[in-house]
């Protein structure tokens, strides 16, 4: 659909909405936001900083949404002139990268969208389209979506569309077509007339089917000529239950043969099981998850890899860390070909006024996550070429992908002082998640982080972080010191030094010093930074992007209205 067609349709839908008097108010509203990121680059051979020919990078995004009653229309204007380092370099130019019109009936019974939209079915294991702008990830669907809620508790979603792949002065979609339907039943709301809303147990059920189409062809493996299937189906069933402080969830997903670049073009079926169990009461929370994912890479183009055109989303089992060294040196991402994994977590608050809890109480948490490869046997001969391997059990295979254990204690000592200490013990297989080029094998690391915060005056405070990552492998030991001073509600200044003091190569024992100042005015935020940015891995939600080393200025602006 080109722009002219799109806006014609937009106009028609709007006219329909106005003429049908579907809205209570005739006055529409426009809301929006903008975000800009500018970086300059200087050469710095010691840290391996690259200077692109343009010497600067600039990304900008502007969103507008027009709303009138149940009708809304929106668009996102994007600029990559040229793309900031670390973003896909093929994003180029300026133009409209996202646009839609939507009508949602005030009763909630009917909701349809034409153009772009984001969607998630259940946990997303079979379908999730989303934007993670900071990572340059956007697999928005472009087509039509219909959501129906015919009766209390029942929601049906159906959609047809292609997925966003690229941006070159305009949105560029991938070749495949995605067709999908999802049904979700909130059993308690559905059985409201039988008193369902008063039941102690709350149950939600869901099921979905997603199919993609891509023109086929053949591939040759050894002496075999194999036909590539054009229509690939995937599906899942899910059940969630809550009772008192307990919660439980299970989802099973399957996929028929889908030879693709991720699985070496084998014809093995895919499957996944996700399990969650939790208990919580005031002051305490416990959760346990287990998951096995086998050959569930599902894309609307069989030949692409990495971040391109995923239809589904398989999150990592490990906790998403926030402190710099824990978050950016060895972050784990799900091994897409297959893994078995489990995690357990506990949160506890020691009550205030007790001997251990102190005047304000003390917060504790511990988290453990483990992932291995699948327990499989490689097939031989023709079966090996066509199906790859067979599964021996649902359990862990012999190869360790990750072990991540961490504990945290945080405590407020007085009105003006609080602190937090976190310890991490990490075993990280860089062959499974290739986050570094300098070491292949298992990195064993201990990380210590002490964070303190002092309220210096009314509305002013100083926050510091002292971090150390200790390891014999890869680039050796690291230390990070951060100091951040804030004048609420408008100003902040921070300075960060990362020092690779244990690098086996003495020439690489470099300080990465970075300073920033910024101002916040309600929804407007401007920050200016200068210094060295370390090569590292930047992750959000289990998806990670490698960011190259750089040296220079950075200006960030964001605003919404």
């Amino acid at each position: 659909m080109n722009r002219i067609q799109f806006f014609t349709i937009l106009g028609l839908v709007s006219a329909y909405s106005a003429s049908a008097q579907l809205t209570e108010s005739n006055e529409g509203t426009v809301t929006g936001n903008v975000q800009m990121l500018w970086q300059s680059y200087s050469e710095d051979p010691v840290i391996g900083a690259i200077v692109p020919p343009e010497k600067t990078g600039f990304n900008a995004y502007g969103n507008l949404i027009y709303t009138q009653g149940g009708f809304s229309a929106g668009m996102r204007y994007e600029s990559y002139l040229s793309a900031v380092l670390g973003f896909p370099g093929r994003f180029k130019g300026s133009g409209i990268g996202y646009r839609y019109a939507r009508y949602a009936d005030p009763t909630g019974k009917v909701d349809f969208t034409i153009g772009n939209f984001y969607e998630q079915f259940g946990s997303g294991i079979v379908l999730r389209s989303y934007e993670e702008r900071a990572l340059g990830i956007d697999n928005a669907l472009d087509g039509i979506r219909l959501i129906l809620r015919p009766t209390n508790g029942l929601e049906i979603k159906a959609l047809y569309g292609k997925q966003r792949l690229d941006f070159d002065s305009r949105l560029i979609n991938g070749p495949g077509t995605v067709r999908a339907v999802d049904g979700a039943l909130d059993v308690n709301a559905f059985l409201e007339s039988k008193g369902g809303l008063d039941w102690k147990t709350k149950i939600t059920l869901g099921a979905n089917f997603v199919s993609k189409f891509q023109s086929g062809g053949t591939i040759t493996k050894d002496t075999l000529i194999l036909t590539l299937p054009e229509n690939i189906g995937a599906w899942s069933y899910r059940l969630d239950a809550l009772r008192g402080g307990w919660s439980a969830g299970i989802e099973y997903a399957g996929k028929i043969n889908d030879p693709n670049a991720d699985n070496g073009y084998t014809y093995r079926d895919g499957q996944a099981i996700l399990l969650n169990l939790g208990y919580t009461q005031r002051g305490l929370g416990v959760s346990f998850s287990a998951k096995t994912v086998d050959n569930m890479s599902f894309r609307s183009d069989r030949d692409v890899l990495l971040f391109d055109l995923p239809i589904n989303y398989i999150p990592a089992i490990t906790q998403q860390h926030t402190y710099n060294l824990a978050a950016t040196l060895y972050p784990y991402a799900t091994v897409i070909s297959g893994e078995s994994s489990a995690s357990a977590e506990i949160f506890y608050s020691i009550p205030k006024g007790t001997k251990l809890g102190g005047k304000y109480g003390t917060k504790l948490s511990a988290n453990f996550a483990a992932a291995n490869d699948l327990d499989t046997t490689q097939l031989s001969g023709v079966d090996g070429l066509v199906y790859g391997y067979e599964r021996n059990s649902w359990g862990f295979g012999p190869t360790k992908f990750v072990r991540d254990f961490n504990v945290q204690i945080s405590r407020k000592e007085s009105k003006n002082f609080k602190w937090k200490y976190t310890f991490y013990n990490l075993e990280f297989n860089t062959l499974a998640t290739p986050v570094t080029t300098t070491f292949k094998g298992i990195v064993y690391a201990d990380i210590h982080v002490l964070e303190t915060q002092v309220k210096t005056r009314k509305r002013e405070s100083l926050r510091t972080e002292f971090q150390a990552l200790l390891t014999e492998q890869d680039k050796g030991d690291w230390a990070t010191v951060l100091a951040e001073y804030t004048w609420s509600p408008h100003w902040f200044a921070s300075i960060l030094d990362q020092y690779n003091f244990g690098n086996p190569d003495p020439a690489a024992r470099v300080h990465y010093l970075y300073g920033a100042v910024g101002r916040i005015d309600g929804p407007h935020r401007l920050s200016i930074g200068y210094g060295k940015r370390r090569e590292g891995i930047f992750c959000i939600g289990g998806v990670c992007r490698a960011v190259p080393a750089s040296n220079g200025f950075e200006i960030n602006f964001s605003s919404s209205f």
Partner: protein
């Protein structure tokens, strides 16, 4: 014929024939709360009482500092201004199961909503978290703040007092 994208953008605004300054009200998005019930965000405002909507995530340190600091003041704020705090988690499937255990362990008494695919965050033009909105008893967004640093609760308190005057 190729349209200039900037022209298209301006055309959209004029075509909309709308006043960007008009008081913004809450968009209606269907989200689940921690009890598994579906809530329409259009119904979050309580008539005659201010509502504070705070977007946060379990992996966002400043968000947790903000909501932990508000938690200490919440009883006083409720008594004085009648405010209701709604904490909207944008944790996605990786961390969504951590929300209920975390919230209960740190003793938050807020209404907590789950927005795993950021549908409500997008509709509210949230670029990054934390982002806090103050909504009047008439359902209009009267103040917002992106980011959190310690001491911002004083600003929030002043805004709450302004609103109920």
């Amino acid at each position: 014929m190729k349209l200039n994208p900037l022209f298209t953008l301006l055309a959209l605004i004029f075509w909309a024939n709308a006043t960007p300054c008009a008081a913004q009200s809450l968009p209606a998005v269907q989200l689940k709360n921690l009890a598994g019930e579906t809530i329409s965000t259009g119904d979050l405002a309580v008539e005659g009482h201010p509502t504070l909507i705070c977007f946060w995530a379990t992996w966002c340190s400043p968000c947790k500092r903000e909501l932990n600091n508000y938690a200490e003041l919440y009883d006083d704020w409720k008594d004085e201004t009648g405010v209701n705090i709604v904490a909207v988690s944008i944790d996605d499937q990786r961390s969504i199961r951590r929300v209920a255990p975390y919230v209960n362990s740190v003793l938050w008494d807020y209404d907590v909503l789950l927005d795993p695919n950021k549908d409500f965050a997008r509709a509210m033009q949230v670029v990054n978290v934390p982002h806090t909105f103050l909504v009047s008893g008439e359902g209009e967004i009267v103040w917002q703040h992106n980011n959190y640093s310690d001491g911002d609760e004083e600003e929030v308190y002043e805004q709450l007092l302004n609103l109920i005057e």
